[in-house]
């Protein structure tokens, strides 16, 4: 009886948060879906049904093509860069060097900074000015007589977004390192020793023992970094503002909704973003739940 009462109470206590999640997350997703099928343009809601018109227009919208291209480049550079760098840092720290905890915090710190701050700083660093107005990295390269490295950074045609990804890698590779480090620490030493006795060299140990055992960690890192890069917004705004060459879906959504008052189109972009993130995340959550249940 006491148990029943406990259960009752816990349901009552948890109900506000469940209600809040239902309304403010799932309710608003449903509402956005409805708006994305409407002709709403202007300040006043207009729920005229236009079926898939907003979506079809987006697929033939040259600006949305730029967005998709930029997102793909950004995701590719950012995810691969962070994972490679993060793994490298983790392996280095795992060698048991002196002052490990110092370096661990040092590499992790960038993650504590907001994307806006990172963006502002990298905006200075990646200044593309030429001639006697050189500054940031370009000025550094010029001092070091590495003039061939001087480039236009984020104002480079087509690939400019990759420069933004560099800033994101700087920020997130420490986090990737932390996940990998935890993964490395959980691999029992016995496995490495057994491999050494069998005559494997260090490279072979990493190739055949460590990497396969780390694959769940890599998957987690991939998912976390991947969904972050699909939603990237603040970093780009801080580095470059609202400019089309560095446009991504989130910026287009914001601009078209609040500057242009195309609510229907904005909602459609939002739903496409949600779907693309869900495609990445949902299978992962199902996989995790399944493996946890098995354990």
């Amino acid at each position: 009886m006491f148990r029943d009462k406990d259960r009752y109470l816990s349901i009552i206590l948890i109900s506000p948060s469940i209600l809040a999640v239902l309304i403010f997350i799932y309710g608003f997703i449903a509402w956005s879906v409805r708006v994305s099928f409407s002709a709403w343009k202007g300040l006043n809601p207009d729920y005229t049904w236009v079926a898939l018109k907003n979506y079809i227009e987006l697929f033939s919208d040259p600006r949305f093509h730029v967005d998709v291209r930029n997102t793909l480049i950004f995701t590719g550079v950012f995810v691969i860069g962070s994972i490679l760098l993060g793994f490298l840092l983790a392996v280095m720290l795992d060698q048991g060097l002196k002052g490990e905890s110092f370096f661990r915090s040092l590499f992790l710190f960038p993650m504590a900074i907001s994307y806006i701050v990172t963006g502002v700083v990298w905006r200075w660093l990646m200044n593309p000015a030429e001639g006697d107005r050189l500054s940031g990295f370009n000025l550094l390269f010029s001092y070091l007589n590495l003039d061939f490295l001087i480039n236009k950074w984020h104002t480079t045609e087509t690939w400019g977004i990759a420069a933004i990804a560099l800033a994101a890698i700087w920020q997130m590779s420490g986090y990737t390192m932390a996940i990998y480090l935890a993964g490395l620490r959980s691999i029992p030493d016995e496995l490495r020793e057994a491999a050494r006795i069998d005559g494997a060299n260090e490279f072979e140990i990493y190739r055949h023992i460590i990497l396969p055992l780390l694959s769940p960690v890599t998957l987690s890192a991939l998912i976390i970094l991947g969904h972050m890069s699909l939603k990237v917004f603040d970093l780009i705004i801080a580095v470059a503002g609202k400019q089309l060459p560095l446009d991504v879906p989130a910026i287009y959504m914001w601009q078209t909704t609040f500057d242009g008052l195309f609510y229907g189109r904005g909602a459609a972009i939002g739903i496409l973003l949600l779907v693309s993130v869900a495609v990445l995340i949902v299978p992962y959550i199902r996989y995790t739940l399944k493996t946890e249940a098995q354990q």
Binding site: D6, L9, S10, L13, I14, P16, S17, A20, K41, G42, L43, N44, P45, P62, R63, V66, R123, M126, N127, P128, A129, E130, R133, K152, W153, H154, T155, E157, A240, G241, K242, Q243, L244, P245, D247, Q255, T256, F258, D259, G260, L261, F262
Partner: protein
């Protein structure tokens, strides 16, 4: 369990605080919404609030300003409040279609013709201004300040050193920039995307003239015509004279190139003059100004103005505020601090600096046309479609594609059918 207990306690607390904050005193008050939160703008607003408080000691003034350049954030907040049926009594907006296309279409602001009549504003504001802030004969906002968009800033020393005189026509401008480019000087300083739209509108004006330019916005000039093509060709040619790092420069960075001697010309609104003064530069020595070539005798304006909300919680207070905003006293308090000129033509010239005095003369005598980038001639949707077309054009340099996109934008969001 203790965690969820904390959660619900916090929730109850937050709800209680919200309920408490919703209740308030009963005194008369007026809430005015703006994005003037920093620099001369905020100081100017404070000066105007002082005038308001002197004239209306019984009304409490609530300054609901939201930070964010050019009002991007403020307008998102305002849109949310209006959709929730919770309008401020009065809010700031760029005079013209940005207000009319958005808020008149949404039936959220009231016509102010009676106020213009009773306060005699029609006699003290330029005749050509009134149609630009009206729709179907109804005037919808009270302009507080006036800025000029079509100003060409130049570095007198660079022009002199290269034997270039100040250009007044497009052809003279091209010839001047050719000379400068050959001499190794960056002819024209340019910044991020919105400054490119600013440049584009002044080139459209300079190439088409005021009637054809106005026609673009009321549908009487065909966006697909050969004249518009010619203007866009001019724009593309001008882009070829600019600095390579424009995408990474703010308008301040670009304007600074001129006074620092890194570039000869810059097209920017006359708020640049306030910035030059901040940098400690002297007019006519460190920088000179002239209308953008082809637009001599034309004043391409933009203006911050205030409106009267439909369903304003305190309409009387809001009207009292608008009276101050349109008064000689209010505008003379605001504009010298903000670095702009009065919308009224009868302000005391001695309050203003050298550049602003010349702008006041032009405002009183020139033909007035509106700015695109700053919300006068096109509604928000149309402007954002033009912005997208411009962004794509800067990427691919295809004038025909750009013109086709502009024709489509006018058909989908403008008056063209």
């Amino acid at each position: 369990m203790s965690k969820s207990k904390w959660y619900s306690l916090t929730t109850i607390f937050v709800i209680a605080m919200l309920a408490l904050s919703a209740c308030g005193g009963g005194a008369q008050k007026v809430e005015v919404f703006s994005w003037w939160t920093g620099g001369g703008e905020a100081a100017g607003l404070e000066a105007m609030i002082k005038v308001f408080n002197e004239k209306n000691p019984n009304v409490e003034f609530i300054n609901a300003a939201v930070a964010g350049g050019a009002g991007t954030n403020a307008r998102a907040v305002l849109a949310t409040r209006l959709q929730a049926g919770d309008p401020p009594d009065s809010w700031q907006g760029h005079a013209g279609q940005e207000l009319i296309g958005t808020y008149v279409a949404g039936k959220q602001i009231q016509p102010l013709n009676d106020l213009y009549e009773s306060e005699g504003w029609l006699d003290v504001m330029p005749e050509t201004l009134i149609p630009l802030i009206s729709q179907d004969g109804n005037i919808y906002s009270v302009p507080v300040n006036i800025h000029r968009a079509n100003v060409l800033w130049y570095n007198p020393a660079i022009l002199e050193a290269n034997g270039v005189s100040v250009p007044t026509t497009m052809d003279e401008w091209f010839a001047a920039m050719d000379t400068l480019q050959a001499a190794g000087v960056t002819p024209l300083a340019l910044g991020e995307q919105w400054t490119k739209m600013h440049l584009m509108e002044t080139v459209l004006l300079g190439s088409l003239g005021p009637e054809k330019y106005n026609g673009l916005w009321d549908g009487s000039t065909d966006w697909g015509s050969a004249e518009v093509k010619g203007a866009l060709d001019n724009f593309q040619k001008i882009l070829g004279y600019t600095n390579s790092d424009s995408a990474s420069l703010s308008w301040q960075d670009a304007a600074q190139l001129v006074v620092n001697g890194n570039a000869a010309f810059n097209v920017m609104g006359d708020w640049a003059e306030g910035y030059f003064r901040e940098l400690g530069k002297t007019p006519n020595t460190d920088y000179g100004w002239t209308p953008v070539p082809g637009s001599v005798g034309i004043f391409q304006f933009l203006s911050d103005s205030f409106v009267l909300a439909v369903g304003a919680p305190d309409e009387e207070g809001a009207i009292a505020w608008l009276k101050v905003a349109g008064s000689k006293e209010g505008q003379e308090a605001f504009n010298p601090v903000k670095g702009s000129i009065c919308a009224r033509t009868d302000c005391d010239k001695s309050l203003f600096g050298e550049y602003l005095q010349s702008a006041m003369d032009d405002w009183a005598s020139d033909t007035v046309v509106g700015s695109l980038t700053h919300g006068v001639v096109a509604n928000d949707s149309w402007k954002s479609e033009i912005d997208t077309a411009l962004g794509l054009f800067i990427q691919d340099g295809n004038v025909d594609g750009f013109q086709a996109a502009l024709v489509a934008a006018c058909a989908s969001s403008g008056p063209c059918k």
